[in-house]
Symmetry: C2
Subunit: 82 residues, 2 copies
């Protein structure tokens, strides 16, 4: 039971940023987005990926590898359309 | 070494949303924020908190308890100033 909640939380934590990336690129409206928060979050996801690689934890590597690409695209949209 | 990276990633993943919450309330500009993404992220953080409580993991409980309050304030700002 706990395990399913953990896996679902991990999955949701990765895909939940897809609507934000989509919105930023589709509307080009990124004025409300905090660049500081998104760069710090990008750093967070990168650190989790490094941690996952160091301890060879595949769910961590996979989830944060995907999240890295999505968050990178949000930061790119913010820098492009600021 | 891995442990320090993990702890720092956990800490950063919680505090990184403070600038976003601050920006949303200070500028009242939430037009670029995706409500769907932030509600899904709120659900993610809630699930991690529930998971932490079920397996009695205090770092998870503390980090996600704090994150829950911050993300809740971002969603509240988005709903108030949409």
């Amino acid at each position: 039971m706990e395990l399913y909640i953990g896996y679902f939380a991990g999955f949701l934590g990765t895909v939940c940023w897809v609507p934000q990336a989509w919105k930023a690129w589709a509307t080009r409206d990124t004025s409300g987005l905090s660049l500081a928060a998104n760069i710090l979050f990008l750093l967070t996801v990168t650190l989790w990926l490094v941690y996952g690689l160091l301890v060879t934890d595949w769910p961590l590597i996979f989830a944060n590898g995907c999240a890295l690409l999505i968050v990178l695209s949000i930061v790119a949209a913010k820098l492009k359309y600021k």
